[in-house]
């Protein structure tokens, strides 16, 4: 008999058995009888009028089953890809929301925009036919950067979106901020770029669709982080299908990082196409196609100003950002640089007044949406960089300046001036822990050693907070969310006591099959091995909003915990009957229902048996069966945070920045499985380090081509780019989630870029360097050194 493995234990991940032995079942592993293969023809131009498409040659090619274009979409009266958030400007004017057709109509707006879908008997035949499709483009001038896009003479993407501005959004008390600035003893200013990123999940996107004419029923297998949302958006809004006739399955998915949490045109096209050709259709992107079509992340240009009094107390923060949306609004697009950004500008500080203006801007690039951290890394970067700038300018130690402004542990719950109220936290505790763990005391010794070797060494801090556990629906609704953000879970106790959980989140690397099983094992006292977690299939799982925004444990885990509590409540009723005691006298603990003060006891297995074979059962007052469902809508976001300390060494001869030490002490609330938390932190930090030092999605200004179009040019960090990391937790408990959890999926990505860049600037500060844009590539560092005030120690 297996054991209970509960909260706080670190069992190996259940799911790894199948992944490590090659028994995962990914979309591209699936084969359907009679399956055909589809290829998307994508625009080679950043901006062009679609004058016409001649299908004849492609249709005549061997093996071709169908060629579909935007005209066919229009003829079938299908809808446009919906945006899940509707934001408004300060006057309440809604954002501009031009249609996003699933196959381009009239115009293409980025390199990779979908123009046609070619279906053939084999993949090679589909590719050959796609090459024969004759598309007549009238190429237009394009614009890829936000600064260029808002210029008066910029190419216009949409006739009815003047200056390419989707929304001129703001948050905060502008007047209060202005008056604080007038009183300030010092104002620190910083202009920065938050570089554009590509998500790079290991598994590229893929989809298979099949139509059963006998039942008028569609099935879509897709690499999605939220299959129920795909079903809802696609059926209700795009293809106009009855939702009960559509099944969406997201089986094993090889990573997401946000890239797979949107409803993509490919999903709608392939579902529609499968019905038209009455054959299953399969599409699998390759890496290059992914780069041109997976939603990108970040891409801000920002100006920030921090007002301080003579003692370094923060008086006010003013931030102006231009945020790139790409060519169309993706599912969460406009929400990311607004609602998930500005409310985090308070950081862990007591800044009393904050104002933020964000211009959300269309450009001829891939649509931009959430990527691990989504808005919060951008906010943290602004805050943690400008604090360092202020410290340097005022001659105050960076750590001391942070301490002077930090929200003390006793001040929680803490209401910020930008909507959010932090329920709990201890930034000072995290900072203190990290200072010790990073051996900051002896940094001077290490710096001197580096100097002896001709290297510059720097130390960087990031004391940050984020908001996750998306999201309290009512609150989100006020901010423009068009859907709910709760989660649901069903706990099905089988007659012999094993448990199946049906949950609306989606596991694609996070270890939910393990963590959630621990929660159930802990609560119901059943062996860990007797709990299976089912997700990712709209025909099996009731409903769910999926996995993103570090919400799975916080929101999904809470629903699961509630459902398990309901099982216990029902179990007590059954136990009371079986033990001939009153319900109030039944004591429950770890799988055992006993009559208080006696040795009479029923196990959960016995309770389940009685519930399903109800020969001795209170049928008059209780339904048979032992299965409970709960929906959970959080009352607030959760606010994980912590302190990250990066230490870098720079070779002035080459400009290479080497990350030599990395320390993170994070407050993620209750830790269910410390091994998984550590893994999430490692992965998150690596992606943040990637943004700071290596990753950059670059478009050519004049042609609008993606220059960093493959892994040969887009640098994802590798093991040898990184030191061994020290990660630890310093937790305060969330006051409003059932288990005190806060979420840990994104903290690493949020805290780390600022820590790394602060370290780089620190290493170069003796040369007068005050800021380095990301990524801090060797070329960029060398250029700064060339321009720096002191001669380079190159020779």
């Amino acid at each position: 008999m297996g054991q209970v493995i509960g909260i706080g234990a670190a069992p190996k991940r259940k799911e790894d058995q199948r992944f490590l032995t090659g028994r995962g079942n990914y979309v591209s592993d699936i084969k359907r009888p009679g399956m055909t293969f589809g290829v998307f023809v994508r625009s080679p131009h950043a901006h062009a009028v679609l004058r016409g498409i001649d299908k004849a040659a492609a249709l005549a090619a061997p093996g071709v089953v169908a060629v579909l274009t935007g005209e066919d979409v229009a003829a079938d009266g299908l809808g446009s890809l919906p945006c899940g958030w509707g934001i408004s400007d300060a006057k309440g004017v809604p954002m501009k929301e031009p249609p996003f057709p699933m196959l381009a109509q009239g115009k293409v707006r980025f390199v990779g925009d979908m123009v046609a879908f070619v279906i053939a008997e084999t993949l090679e035949q589909a590719k050959s036919a796609a090459e024969l499709l004759s598309v007549d483009y009238e190429v237009l001038p394009s614009v890829v950067g936000v600064l260029d896009a808002v210029r008066p003479d910029a190419p216009q993407l949409f006739d009815d979106v003047p200056n390419n501005v989707c929304c001129d959004w703001e948050l905060g008390d502008k007047a209060a901020v202005e008056s604080a600035f007038r009183k300030a003893a010092h104002v620190a200013k910083l202009s920065l770029v938050n570089n554009r990123l590509i998500g790079n999940p290991m598994e590229p996107r893929a989809a298979i669709a099949e139509y059963d004419p006998g039942k008028s029923h569609h099935t879509l297998w897709t690499t999605s982080q939220f299959p129920h949302v795909v079903r809802f958006l696609m059926s209700a809004l795009v293809l106009k299908l009855p939702e009960h006739k559509v099944r969406v399955v997201a089986p094993d998915v090889g990573g997401g990082f946000g890239v797979k949490q949107f409803h993509y045109g490919e999903e709608a096209v392939i579902t529609w196409a499968a019905k038209r050709v009455l054959r299953p259709v399969k599409w699998v992107a390759d890496r290059s196609e992914g780069y041109l079509s997976d939603r990108h992340g970040r891409d801000h240009v920002t100006e920030a100003e921090l007002a301080l009094d003579e003692n370094g107390k923060f008086l006010a923060l003013r931030v102006k950002t231009l945020a790139n949306m790409g060519g169309y609004l993706s599912t969460f697009g406009p929400n990311i640089p607004t609602n998930l950004y500005a409310p985090l500008l308070g950081g862990v500080y007591t800044t009393p007044a904050i104002y933020c203006n964000v211009k959300v801007v269309f450009t001829n690039t891939v649509p931009v949406d959430a990527y691990r951290g989504a808005g919060r890394p951008e906010a943290t970067f602004v805050v943690e960089r400008i604090v360092d700038v202020a410290a340097a300018e005022m001659g105050i130690d960076r750590v001391e300046l942070r301490r002077r402004n930090m929200i003390p542990k006793e001040a929680y719950p803490y209401q910020t001036p930008v909507l959010v109220q932090y329920d709990s936290g201890d930034p000072m505790g995290c900072l203190d822990g990290a200072l010790v763990a990073a051996d900051v005391k002896n940094f001077g010794v290490r710096k001197a050693e580096s100097a002896r070797n001709g290297k510059f060494r720097g130390l960087g801090f990031s004391t940050y907070v984020e908001a996750c556990g998306l999201a309290p629906s009512r609150f989100a609704g006020r901010l423009g969310a068009r859907g709910g953000l709760y989660e649901s879970a069903t706990v099905r106790v089988h007659p012999a006591g094993q448990v199946t959980v049906l949950i609306g989140t989606h596991n694609h690397g996070q270890g939910h099959e393990t963590t959630f099983a621990q929660i159930v094992s802990d609560k119901l006292g059943v062996p860990f091995e007797n709990v299976d977690i089912v997700f990712g299939d709209t025909d099996r799982v009731q409903f769910g909003m999926g996995t993103y925004g570090s919400r799975s444990l916080v929101v999904g885990g809470a629903a699961l915990s509630k459902a398990a509590d309901k099982v216990i409540v029902k179990g007590k009723k059954i136990a009371a009957h079986l033990l001939e005691a009153s319900e109030q006298d039944i004591h429950y603990e770890s799988g055992k229902f006993s009559v208080a003060g006696t040795d009479r006891v029923k196990t959960i297995e016995e309770i389940a048996g009685a519930a399903y074979v109800p020969h001795n059962y209170p049928l008059e007052i209780l339904e048979p069966g032992l299965e409970e469902q709960a929906y959970y809508d959080p009352v607030n976001f959760t606010y994980p945070g912590g302190c990250h300390i990066a230490e870098v060494e720079i070779d002035p001869e080459t400009g290479i920045v080497t990350l030599v030490n990395y320390t993170a002490v994070d407050d993620v609330g209750t830790v269910i499985n410390p091994m998984i938390v550590e893994g999430q932190l490692h992965g998150g930090i690596v992606q943040g380090v990637g943004q700071a030092l290596y990753e950059n999605a670059v478009y050519d200004d004049s042609s609008g081509q993606l220059v960093s179009g493959s892994l040969m040019d887009y640098c994802v960090p590798r093991a040898d780019h990184l030191p061994m990391m020290k990660v630890a937790t310093h937790s305060t408990l969330c006051t409003h989630t059932p288990m005190g959890v806060k979420g840990c999926g994104e903290v690493g990505t949020i805290g780390s870029p600022a820590a790394v860049i602060n370290a780089v600037v620190d290493a170069l500060s003796h040369l007068g360097v005050t800021h380095v844009d990301m990524p801090a590539t060797p070329n960029r560092i060398w250029r700064l050194l060339q321009n720096a005030s002191l001669p380079v120690a190159a020779e």
């Binding site: 090679e124 090459e131 080459t654 220059v707 040969m712 780019h721 060797p778 070329n779 060398w782």
Partner: protein
């Protein structure tokens, strides 16, 4: 990938016959470059002639003055070869720094040199050591072999069978790895030979090239300091999102110094 015929001859002569008789045929070495190109439909040969089963293209031998390496020798084998490690350690080190383990176990010396990628490592060693490229038809000196961006002196149907490297008095290779691709953003091979010093640069320009000024200075004194102030003209060097031309020019000097230092160790 389009369909193609696949041949696996065991004699060099059979391979040459196949290549010359079938139009649009391609010789396959380790396939690390050719296969992705075919998959992306950038190349669509009608026939592929795989050299994997030609025994005459394998093996490493040492005749005292030169080390000869068969064209089909994978990078990992060169890196681990006791002969190469003892006689031309810089070449073994260069091979050990190519790409990743998968690439090193599949990619071959002949394929890399025939391909003449402007960022590839081997061309720097071949030119830097003044090696001789032995083909199915003739022998070609390195100085006559590399003709610029992906261009070589090879004629259609001509197969590299081996490369003969002179054993230098000292040699060093210093590579600045492109962060994403791991190819040479700039790589400099420096060799001190009986006939003088040779300095060959890869990655920086449209093809591997020698730096006469550095060779001269190093012939005077084989020390990093002798070339520290020699600047390379940025005109004509590659410029891209990873490195602008003037930065590459700067790196040539830095890497050359490091190569000399490595050679002196």
């Amino acid at each position: 990938m389009r369909a193609f015929a696949y041949h696996q001859p065991s004699e060099i002569s059979d391979a040459v016959t196949l290549l010359t008789s079938v139009e649009d045929s391609k010789v396959l070495g380790g396939g690390m470059t050719l296969i992705p190109t075919i998959k992306q439909r950038l190349a669509a040969p009608t026939a592929v002639v795989d050299l994997a089963k030609v025994p005459a293209l394998k093996g490493i031998s040492d005749d005292g003055e030169t080390v000869t390496i068969g064209a089909m020798t994978p990078h990992a084998v060169v890196a681990a070869s006791p002969i190469v490690q003892a006689r031309i350690p810089a070449l073994a080190q260069l091979a050990s720094e190519i790409g990743d383990p998968a690439v090193r176990n599949r990619g071959t010396l002949g394929g890399s040199v025939a391909n003449n990628d402007p960022s590839a490592d081997y061309p720097a060693a071949v030119l830097g050591l003044g090696a001789t490229i032995i083909t199915s038809a003739r022998e070609i000196a390195a100085d006559q072999f590399f003709l610029g961006l992906f261009e070589t002196a090879l004629q259609p149907g001509e197969i590299i069978t081996a490369i003969r490297f002179p054993v230098p008095l000292a040699a060093g290779y210093a590579k600045f790895k492109a962060p994403a691709s791991r190819y040479a953003l700039v790589g400099v091979f420096v060799a001190k030979l009986a006939g003088g010093v040779r300095v060959a640069v890869t990655g920086a320009g449209p093809g591997v090239f020698r730096v006469a000024a550095m060779e001269q200075a190093l012939n005077g004194s084989f020390e990093p300091t002798s070339i520290a102030s020699i600047k390379i003209d940025a005109a004509g060097l590659a410029s891209d999102i990873h490195a602008e031309a003037d930065y590459r020019a700067h790196l040539v000097t830095v890497m050359a110094k490091r190569a000399v230092a490595a050679a002196s160790r």
